[in-house]
Protein backbone atom coordinates (compact mmCIF):
# COMPACT_ATOMS: atom_id res chain seq x y z
CA UNK A 1 0.00 0.00 0.00
CA UNK A 2 0.98 3.62 -0.55
CA UNK A 3 1.01 5.98 2.34
CA UNK A 4 2.34 9.42 3.25
CA UNK A 5 3.83 10.02 6.66
CA UNK A 6 4.25 13.47 8.15
CA UNK A 7 6.95 13.23 10.79
CA UNK A 8 8.09 15.68 13.44
CA UNK A 9 11.73 16.51 12.68
CA UNK A 10 13.75 18.36 15.28
CA UNK A 11 17.57 18.27 15.13
CA UNK A 12 18.19 18.95 18.82
CA UNK A 13 16.42 20.19 21.98
CA UNK A 14 16.83 23.86 21.06
CA UNK A 15 15.76 23.46 17.41
CA UNK A 16 12.22 24.68 16.72
CA UNK A 17 11.25 21.60 14.72
CA UNK A 18 8.61 21.03 12.03
CA UNK A 19 6.47 18.39 10.36
CA UNK A 20 8.12 16.87 7.24
CA UNK A 21 6.25 14.70 4.73
CA UNK A 22 7.58 11.47 3.19
CA UNK A 23 5.84 9.26 0.60
CA UNK A 24 6.18 5.49 0.95
CA UNK A 25 5.15 3.43 -2.09
CA UNK A 26 5.58 -0.14 -0.99
CA UNK A 27 4.35 -0.68 2.56
CA UNK A 28 3.17 -4.16 3.54
CA UNK A 29 0.15 -4.33 5.81
CA UNK A 30 2.02 -6.99 7.83
CA UNK A 31 4.75 -4.55 8.82
CA UNK A 32 4.71 -3.19 12.33
CA UNK A 33 4.59 0.57 12.58
CA UNK A 34 8.23 0.70 13.66
CA UNK A 35 9.30 -1.59 10.77
CA UNK A 36 7.67 0.89 8.42
CA UNK A 37 9.83 3.62 9.98
CA UNK A 38 12.89 1.33 9.74
CA UNK A 39 12.27 0.96 5.98
CA UNK A 40 11.90 4.72 5.63
CA UNK A 41 15.10 5.25 7.62
CA UNK A 42 17.05 2.85 5.38
CA UNK A 43 15.93 4.88 2.39
CA UNK A 44 16.81 8.17 4.08
CA UNK A 45 20.26 6.80 4.97
CA UNK A 46 20.88 5.70 1.36
CA UNK A 47 19.79 9.11 0.14
CA UNK A 48 22.27 10.72 2.51
CA UNK A 49 19.60 12.23 4.75
CA UNK A 50 19.53 12.10 8.52
CA UNK A 51 17.37 9.11 9.60
CA UNK A 52 14.40 9.73 11.88
CA UNK A 53 15.29 9.23 15.54
CA UNK A 54 12.75 7.23 17.56
CA UNK A 55 12.89 5.04 20.66
CA UNK A 56 12.30 1.29 20.70
CA UNK A 57 13.69 -1.73 22.45
CA UNK A 58 11.91 -5.06 22.94
CA UNK A 59 9.40 -4.58 20.11
CA UNK A 60 7.07 -7.04 21.78
CA UNK A 61 5.01 -4.57 23.79
CA UNK A 62 6.46 -5.13 27.24
CA UNK A 63 9.35 -2.73 27.77
CA UNK A 64 7.68 0.66 27.46
CA UNK A 65 10.46 2.20 25.41
CA UNK A 66 8.59 2.98 22.20
CA UNK A 67 5.83 5.52 21.98
CA UNK A 68 4.64 7.87 19.25
CA UNK A 69 1.60 10.07 18.88
CA UNK A 70 0.05 8.80 15.66
CA UNK A 71 -2.73 10.88 14.11
CA UNK A 72 -3.11 12.72 17.40
CA UNK A 73 -3.50 9.50 19.44
CA UNK A 74 -0.85 8.12 21.81
CA UNK A 75 0.33 4.76 20.36
CA UNK A 76 -2.11 5.24 17.47
CA UNK A 77 -5.62 3.92 16.91
CA UNK A 78 -5.27 0.47 18.56
CA UNK A 79 -4.96 -0.20 22.27
CA UNK A 80 -1.37 -1.39 22.17
CA UNK A 81 2.18 -0.13 22.11
CA UNK A 82 3.50 1.50 18.94
CA UNK A 83 5.70 -1.54 18.24
CA UNK A 84 2.68 -3.84 18.33
CA UNK A 85 0.67 -1.60 16.00
CA UNK A 86 0.61 -2.92 12.44
CA UNK A 87 0.15 -1.18 9.13
CA UNK A 88 -3.06 -3.14 8.56
CA UNK A 89 -4.66 -0.63 10.94
CA UNK A 90 -4.23 1.93 8.15
CA UNK A 91 -5.58 2.21 4.62
CA UNK A 92 -3.95 2.70 1.25
CA UNK A 93 -3.51 6.41 0.59
CA UNK A 94 -3.59 7.42 4.26
CA UNK A 95 -1.68 10.45 5.47
CA UNK A 96 -0.27 9.52 8.88
CA UNK A 97 0.92 12.21 11.31
CA UNK A 98 3.71 11.07 13.64
CA UNK A 99 4.71 13.24 16.60
CA UNK A 100 6.59 12.78 19.87
CA UNK A 101 4.92 12.67 23.30
CA UNK A 102 4.09 16.29 24.12
CA UNK A 103 4.62 17.52 27.64
CA UNK A 104 6.79 20.26 29.07
CA UNK A 105 8.09 17.58 31.48
CA UNK A 106 9.14 15.35 28.54
CA UNK A 107 11.54 17.60 26.58
CA UNK A 108 12.26 16.48 23.01
CA UNK A 109 15.80 15.18 22.62
CA UNK A 110 15.68 14.67 18.87
CA UNK A 111 12.87 14.08 16.34
CA UNK A 112 10.52 11.62 18.08
CA UNK A 113 12.71 10.89 21.11
CA UNK A 114 11.75 12.51 24.42
CA UNK A 115 13.46 12.50 27.81
CA UNK A 116 11.23 10.64 30.28
CA UNK A 117 13.60 11.03 33.22
CA UNK A 118 10.76 12.71 35.13
CA UNK A 119 9.15 9.25 35.53
CA UNK A 120 12.32 7.86 37.10
CA UNK A 121 12.37 10.73 39.59
CA UNK A 122 8.72 10.11 40.53
CA UNK A 123 9.56 6.45 41.24
CA UNK A 124 12.63 7.50 43.24
CA UNK A 125 10.37 9.67 45.41
CA UNK A 126 8.58 6.63 46.85
CA UNK A 127 7.66 4.02 44.22
CA UNK A 128 9.37 1.16 46.03
CA UNK A 129 9.36 -0.85 49.25
CA UNK A 130 12.31 -0.87 51.64
CA UNK A 131 12.64 -4.64 52.02
CA UNK A 132 15.35 -6.03 54.27
CA UNK A 133 17.75 -8.30 52.42
CA UNK A 134 17.96 -11.98 53.21
CA UNK A 135 16.02 -15.02 52.12
CA UNK A 136 12.41 -14.61 51.06
CA UNK A 137 9.85 -15.27 53.81
CA UNK A 138 7.49 -18.24 53.53
CA UNK A 139 4.80 -17.08 51.11
CA UNK A 140 1.88 -18.55 53.06
CA UNK A 141 2.80 -16.48 56.11
CA UNK A 142 1.49 -13.40 54.37
CA UNK A 143 -2.01 -14.01 53.02
CA UNK A 144 -3.24 -11.58 50.34
CA UNK A 145 -6.92 -11.52 49.34
CA UNK A 146 -7.32 -12.68 45.74
CA UNK A 147 -9.11 -9.47 44.76
CA UNK A 148 -6.28 -7.30 46.09
CA UNK A 149 -3.68 -9.46 44.40
CA UNK A 150 -5.52 -9.15 41.08
CA UNK A 151 -5.88 -5.37 41.37
CA UNK A 152 -2.28 -4.95 42.44
CA UNK A 153 -1.07 -7.07 39.54
CA UNK A 154 -3.24 -5.14 37.08
CA UNK A 155 -1.64 -1.90 38.29
CA UNK A 156 1.82 -3.47 38.29
CA UNK A 157 1.63 -4.11 34.53
CA UNK A 158 2.42 -0.42 33.91
CA UNK A 159 5.44 -0.27 31.61
CA UNK A 160 6.06 3.43 32.14
CA UNK A 161 5.78 4.29 28.44
CA UNK A 162 4.28 7.73 29.10
CA UNK A 163 1.23 7.39 26.82
CA UNK A 164 -0.96 8.61 29.71
CA UNK A 165 0.90 11.93 29.77
CA UNK A 166 0.83 12.25 25.99
CA UNK A 167 -2.91 11.54 25.83
CA UNK A 168 -3.95 13.62 28.85
CA UNK A 169 -5.35 17.01 27.79
CA UNK A 170 -3.66 18.44 30.89
CA UNK A 171 -0.35 16.61 30.47
CA UNK A 172 -0.85 14.91 33.83
CA UNK A 173 1.16 11.86 34.92
CA UNK A 174 -1.41 10.81 37.50
CA UNK A 175 -2.15 7.41 35.93
CA UNK A 176 1.53 6.48 35.98
CA UNK A 177 1.92 7.68 39.58
CA UNK A 178 -1.35 6.09 40.66
CA UNK A 179 -0.47 2.71 39.11
CA UNK A 180 2.52 2.41 41.45
CA UNK A 181 0.56 3.73 44.45
CA UNK A 182 -2.16 1.13 43.79
CA UNK A 183 0.25 -1.71 43.09
CA UNK A 184 2.16 -1.27 46.36
CA UNK A 185 -0.74 0.09 48.41
CA UNK A 186 -2.83 -3.06 47.98
CA UNK A 187 -0.11 -5.45 49.12
CA UNK A 188 1.05 -6.04 52.69
CA UNK A 189 4.67 -5.24 51.82
CA UNK A 190 3.64 -1.75 50.76
CA UNK A 191 1.89 -0.78 53.99
CA UNK A 192 4.76 0.63 56.14
CA UNK A 193 5.58 3.30 53.56
CA UNK A 194 2.06 3.83 52.26
CA UNK A 195 1.66 7.42 53.51
CA UNK A 196 5.20 8.63 52.80
CA UNK A 197 5.01 7.02 49.34
CA UNK A 198 1.93 8.88 48.17
CA UNK A 199 3.10 12.16 49.72
CA UNK A 200 6.55 11.91 48.14
CA UNK A 201 5.38 10.75 44.72
CA UNK A 202 2.63 13.38 44.37
CA UNK A 203 5.04 16.09 45.51
CA UNK A 204 7.58 14.97 42.89
CA UNK A 205 4.87 14.66 40.22
CA UNK A 206 3.87 18.28 40.79
CA UNK A 207 7.48 19.43 41.04
CA UNK A 208 8.22 17.94 37.61
CA UNK A 209 5.60 20.29 36.15
CA UNK A 210 3.01 17.71 35.09
CA UNK A 211 -0.59 18.92 34.91
CA UNK A 212 -3.43 17.87 37.20
CA UNK A 213 -5.99 15.14 36.64
CA UNK A 214 -9.45 16.29 35.52
CA UNK A 215 -10.86 12.75 35.49
CA UNK A 216 -11.46 12.62 31.75
CA UNK A 217 -10.05 9.13 31.27
CA UNK A 218 -8.00 9.64 28.09
CA UNK A 219 -5.00 8.15 29.92
CA UNK A 220 -6.79 4.87 30.56
CA UNK A 221 -8.13 4.78 27.01
CA UNK A 222 -4.62 5.27 25.59
CA UNK A 223 -2.83 2.97 28.06
CA UNK A 224 -1.49 -0.10 26.21
CA UNK A 225 -1.75 -2.06 29.45
CA UNK A 226 -5.26 -0.87 30.30
CA UNK A 227 -4.35 0.51 33.74
CA UNK A 228 -7.80 1.42 35.10
CA UNK A 229 -8.81 4.94 36.10
CA UNK A 230 -9.77 3.81 39.60
CA UNK A 231 -6.04 3.72 40.44
CA UNK A 232 -6.17 7.54 40.41
CA UNK A 233 -9.10 7.53 42.80
CA UNK A 234 -7.07 5.24 45.09
CA UNK A 235 -4.15 7.68 44.92
CA UNK A 236 -6.47 10.56 45.84
CA UNK A 237 -7.87 8.54 48.72
CA UNK A 238 -4.39 7.65 49.98
CA UNK A 239 -3.16 11.24 49.76
CA UNK A 240 -6.19 12.75 51.48
CA UNK A 241 -5.97 10.02 54.13
CA UNK A 242 -2.29 10.72 54.74
CA UNK A 243 -3.02 14.47 55.03
CA UNK A 244 -5.93 13.84 57.40
CA UNK A 245 -3.65 11.76 59.61
CA UNK A 246 -1.17 14.65 59.68
CA UNK A 247 1.56 12.71 57.90
CA UNK A 248 2.62 15.62 55.65
Amino acid sequence: MKITVRVWRQANPSDEGKMVGYDLDDVSEHMSFLEMLDVLNERLTLEGEEPIAFDSDCREGICGMCGLVINGLAHGPERTTTCQLHMRSFKDGDVIDIEPWRSSSFPVVKDLVVDRGAFDRIIQAGGYISAPTGSAPEANNLPVPKENADHAFEAATCIGCGACVAACPNGSAMLFTAAKITHLGLLPQGQPERASRVLGMVEQHDHEGFGNCTNIGECTAACPKGIPLDTISRLNRDLLGALAKGKA
Binding site: V69, G72, A167, V202, N215, E218, D230, I232, L235
Partner: protein
Protein backbone atom coordinates in the same frame (compact mmCIF):
# COMPACT_ATOMS: atom_id res chain seq x y z
CA UNK B 1 9.87 22.04 36.63
CA UNK B 2 7.75 24.05 39.01
CA UNK B 3 8.46 25.16 42.54
CA UNK B 4 8.48 22.29 45.01
CA UNK B 5 5.49 22.47 47.34
CA UNK B 6 4.37 20.03 50.00
CA UNK B 7 1.50 17.58 49.55
CA UNK B 8 -0.85 19.97 51.38
CA UNK B 9 -0.60 22.37 48.46
CA UNK B 10 -0.38 19.69 45.76
CA UNK B 11 -2.66 19.44 42.75
CA UNK B 12 -4.52 16.59 44.47
CA UNK B 13 -5.22 18.74 47.54
CA UNK B 14 -6.41 21.61 45.31
CA UNK B 15 -8.69 19.19 43.48
CA UNK B 16 -10.15 18.09 46.81
CA UNK B 17 -10.85 21.74 47.62
CA UNK B 18 -12.57 22.07 44.26
CA UNK B 19 -14.59 18.89 44.83
CA UNK B 20 -15.80 19.84 48.31
CA UNK B 21 -16.68 23.42 47.34
CA UNK B 22 -18.50 22.11 44.27
CA UNK B 23 -20.51 19.62 46.30
CA UNK B 24 -21.52 22.38 48.75
CA UNK B 25 -22.91 24.33 45.81
CA UNK B 26 -24.71 21.25 44.47
CA UNK B 27 -26.38 20.87 47.88
CA UNK B 28 -27.44 24.50 47.75
CA UNK B 29 -28.82 24.08 44.23
CA UNK B 30 -31.08 21.25 45.40
CA UNK B 31 -32.53 23.45 48.18
CA UNK B 32 -32.86 26.38 45.78
CA UNK B 33 -34.69 24.18 43.27
CA UNK B 34 -37.11 23.01 45.96
CA UNK B 35 -37.90 26.65 46.81
CA UNK B 36 -38.44 27.51 43.14
CA UNK B 37 -41.04 24.79 42.72
CA UNK B 38 -43.13 26.55 45.40
CA UNK B 39 -44.10 28.94 42.63
CA UNK B 40 -46.79 26.39 41.75
CA UNK B 41 -48.37 26.89 45.21
CA UNK B 42 -49.32 30.48 44.37
CA UNK B 43 -48.23 33.98 45.35
CA UNK B 44 -49.01 33.76 49.08
CA UNK B 45 -47.15 30.50 49.62
CA UNK B 46 -44.15 31.57 47.51
CA UNK B 47 -43.75 35.00 49.11
CA UNK B 48 -44.22 33.49 52.56
CA UNK B 49 -41.53 30.91 51.86
CA UNK B 50 -39.23 33.73 50.77
CA UNK B 51 -40.06 35.68 53.94
CA UNK B 52 -39.69 32.57 56.09
CA UNK B 53 -36.09 32.18 54.85
CA UNK B 54 -35.39 35.53 56.53
CA UNK B 55 -37.04 34.74 59.84
CA UNK B 56 -35.95 31.10 60.15
CA UNK B 57 -34.06 30.35 63.36
CA UNK B 58 -35.37 33.42 65.21
CA UNK B 59 -34.97 34.35 67.98
CA UNK B 60 -31.78 32.30 68.22
CA UNK B 61 -30.52 33.96 65.03
CA UNK B 62 -31.05 37.61 64.10
CA UNK B 63 -33.26 38.46 61.14
CA UNK B 64 -31.83 37.02 57.91
CA UNK B 65 -29.22 35.30 60.10
CA UNK B 66 -29.42 31.90 58.44
CA UNK B 67 -29.53 33.57 55.03
CA UNK B 68 -26.27 35.36 55.77
CA UNK B 69 -24.64 32.16 57.02
CA UNK B 70 -25.64 30.49 53.74
CA UNK B 71 -24.37 33.48 51.75
CA UNK B 72 -20.99 33.44 53.50
CA UNK B 73 -20.60 29.67 53.02
CA UNK B 74 -21.56 29.95 49.34
CA UNK B 75 -19.23 32.87 48.75
CA UNK B 76 -16.38 30.93 50.36
CA UNK B 77 -17.25 27.90 48.21
CA UNK B 78 -17.26 29.99 45.04
CA UNK B 79 -13.94 31.64 45.89
CA UNK B 80 -12.36 28.26 46.68
CA UNK B 81 -13.82 26.72 43.50
CA UNK B 82 -12.67 29.53 41.20
CA UNK B 83 -9.26 29.82 42.89
CA UNK B 84 -8.47 26.13 42.48
CA UNK B 85 -9.83 26.15 38.91
CA UNK B 86 -7.61 29.07 37.89
CA UNK B 87 -4.46 27.73 39.55
CA UNK B 88 -4.92 24.24 38.07
CA UNK B 89 -5.85 25.51 34.60
CA UNK B 90 -2.78 27.75 34.42
CA UNK B 91 -0.68 24.77 35.49
CA UNK B 92 -2.23 22.48 32.88
CA UNK B 93 -1.66 25.01 30.10
CA UNK B 94 2.01 25.21 31.10
CA UNK B 95 2.31 21.43 31.23
CA UNK B 96 1.04 21.02 27.67
CA UNK B 97 2.52 24.09 26.01
CA UNK B 98 5.63 23.00 24.12
CA UNK B 99 6.79 25.42 21.45
CA UNK B 100 4.42 27.41 19.27
CA UNK B 101 0.98 26.50 17.99
CA UNK B 102 -1.21 23.63 19.15
CA UNK B 103 0.24 20.84 21.29
CA UNK B 104 -0.21 18.29 18.47
CA UNK B 105 0.05 19.48 14.89
CA UNK B 106 -2.13 16.62 13.61
CA UNK B 107 -5.66 17.74 12.76
CA UNK B 108 -6.98 14.20 13.26
CA UNK B 109 -8.74 12.84 16.36
CA UNK B 110 -9.08 16.22 18.05
CA UNK B 111 -11.43 14.64 20.58
CA UNK B 112 -8.95 11.93 21.48
CA UNK B 113 -10.22 8.42 22.18
CA UNK B 114 -13.30 9.21 24.25
CA UNK B 115 -13.34 12.78 25.57
CA UNK B 116 -16.90 13.87 26.29
CA UNK B 117 -18.58 17.17 25.44
CA UNK B 118 -19.20 17.71 29.17
CA UNK B 119 -15.49 17.40 29.96
CA UNK B 120 -14.53 19.64 27.03
CA UNK B 121 -16.80 22.46 28.18
CA UNK B 122 -16.06 22.22 31.90
CA UNK B 123 -13.78 25.25 32.13
CA UNK B 124 -15.51 27.70 29.79
CA UNK B 125 -18.88 26.40 30.96
CA UNK B 126 -17.77 27.35 34.47
CA UNK B 127 -17.02 30.89 33.30
CA UNK B 128 -20.47 31.10 31.69
CA UNK B 129 -22.10 29.89 34.92
CA UNK B 130 -20.12 32.45 36.95
CA UNK B 131 -21.28 35.32 34.72
CA UNK B 132 -24.81 33.98 34.86
CA UNK B 133 -24.80 33.97 38.68
CA UNK B 134 -23.96 37.70 38.69
CA UNK B 135 -26.72 38.38 36.16
CA UNK B 136 -29.15 36.21 38.10
CA UNK B 137 -28.48 38.08 41.39
CA UNK B 138 -28.99 41.44 39.65
CA UNK B 139 -32.16 40.09 38.11
CA UNK B 140 -34.09 38.26 40.82
CA UNK B 141 -32.33 39.17 44.08
CA UNK B 142 -31.65 42.89 43.78
CA UNK B 143 -34.12 43.33 40.90
CA UNK B 144 -31.84 45.90 39.18
CA UNK B 145 -32.46 44.05 35.95
CA UNK B 146 -36.23 43.74 35.79
CA UNK B 147 -37.61 42.83 32.41
CA UNK B 148 -41.38 42.80 32.55
CA UNK B 149 -41.37 45.19 35.51
CA UNK B 150 -39.85 45.45 39.02
CA UNK B 151 -41.75 44.34 42.11
CA UNK B 152 -41.36 44.00 45.88
CA UNK B 153 -43.02 40.56 45.69
CA UNK B 154 -40.55 37.75 44.85
CA UNK B 155 -43.42 35.87 43.18
CA UNK B 156 -44.17 38.79 40.84
CA UNK B 157 -40.48 39.23 40.03
CA UNK B 158 -40.31 35.63 38.89
CA UNK B 159 -43.52 35.87 36.87
CA UNK B 160 -42.51 39.16 35.25
CA UNK B 161 -39.08 37.79 34.33
CA UNK B 162 -40.24 34.55 32.78
CA UNK B 163 -43.12 36.22 30.97
CA UNK B 164 -40.39 37.38 28.58
CA UNK B 165 -39.27 34.66 26.12
CA UNK B 166 -35.70 35.97 25.88
CA UNK B 167 -35.24 35.65 29.65
CA UNK B 168 -36.40 32.04 29.44
CA UNK B 169 -33.81 31.56 26.69
CA UNK B 170 -31.03 33.08 28.84
CA UNK B 171 -31.93 30.85 31.79
CA UNK B 172 -32.18 27.79 29.51
CA UNK B 173 -28.66 28.34 28.15
CA UNK B 174 -27.30 28.89 31.67
CA UNK B 175 -28.97 25.77 33.02
CA UNK B 176 -27.74 23.62 30.15
CA UNK B 177 -24.25 24.88 31.05
CA UNK B 178 -24.94 23.90 34.67
CA UNK B 179 -26.16 20.48 33.51
CA UNK B 180 -23.00 19.74 31.50
CA UNK B 181 -20.84 21.13 34.33
CA UNK B 182 -22.51 18.81 36.84
CA UNK B 183 -22.36 15.77 34.56
CA UNK B 184 -18.58 15.89 34.59
CA UNK B 185 -18.16 17.79 37.85
CA UNK B 186 -20.05 15.40 40.13
CA UNK B 187 -18.23 12.43 38.61
CA UNK B 188 -14.89 14.22 39.02
CA UNK B 189 -15.66 15.14 42.64
CA UNK B 190 -16.33 11.48 43.41
CA UNK B 191 -13.07 10.47 41.70
CA UNK B 192 -11.09 13.13 43.56
CA UNK B 193 -12.50 12.22 46.94
CA UNK B 194 -11.56 8.60 46.36
CA UNK B 195 -14.99 7.10 45.70
CA UNK B 196 -14.13 5.32 42.45
CA UNK B 197 -12.38 2.15 43.57
CA UNK B 198 -14.22 -0.52 41.59
CA UNK B 199 -16.20 -1.06 38.40
CA UNK B 200 -19.41 -0.96 40.41
CA UNK B 201 -18.43 2.26 42.19
CA UNK B 202 -17.60 3.82 38.83
CA UNK B 203 -21.00 2.93 37.44
CA UNK B 204 -22.76 4.28 40.53
CA UNK B 205 -20.78 7.53 40.36
CA UNK B 206 -21.71 7.99 36.72
CA UNK B 207 -25.37 7.30 37.45
CA UNK B 208 -25.26 9.81 40.32
CA UNK B 209 -23.66 12.43 38.07
CA UNK B 210 -26.27 11.94 35.34
CA UNK B 211 -29.10 11.95 37.88
CA UNK B 212 -28.03 15.12 39.72
CA UNK B 213 -27.30 16.88 36.44
CA UNK B 214 -30.68 15.89 35.00
CA UNK B 215 -32.73 16.60 38.13
CA UNK B 216 -31.19 20.04 38.67
CA UNK B 217 -31.38 21.14 35.04
CA UNK B 218 -34.98 20.00 34.57
CA UNK B 219 -36.10 21.02 38.06
CA UNK B 220 -34.87 24.56 37.53
CA UNK B 221 -36.32 24.80 34.01
CA UNK B 222 -39.85 23.69 34.93
CA UNK B 223 -40.94 27.04 36.51
CA UNK B 224 -39.67 29.34 33.69
CA UNK B 225 -41.40 27.27 30.98
CA UNK B 226 -44.57 26.84 33.02
CA UNK B 227 -44.70 30.63 33.47
CA UNK B 228 -43.91 31.33 29.80
CA UNK B 229 -46.73 29.02 28.70
CA UNK B 230 -49.12 30.64 31.19
CA UNK B 231 -49.62 27.61 33.46
CA UNK B 232 -48.80 29.55 36.64
CA UNK B 233 -51.00 32.12 38.40
Amino acid sequence: MTKRVGARRSTVALKALMAVSGLIMVGYLLLHMYGNLKVFSGQVAFDEYSHHLRTIGEPLLPESGLLWIIRVVLLAAIIAHVYSAVVLTVRDRKATRTGSGPRYKSKQNKRGFQRSYASFTLRWGGVIIFLFIIFHLLNLTTNDIAPGGASASPYERVLNTFGEWYMVLVYTIALLAVGFHLRHGVWAAGMTLGANTSVKARRNLNVLAYALSGIITIGFLIPPYAILFGWVG
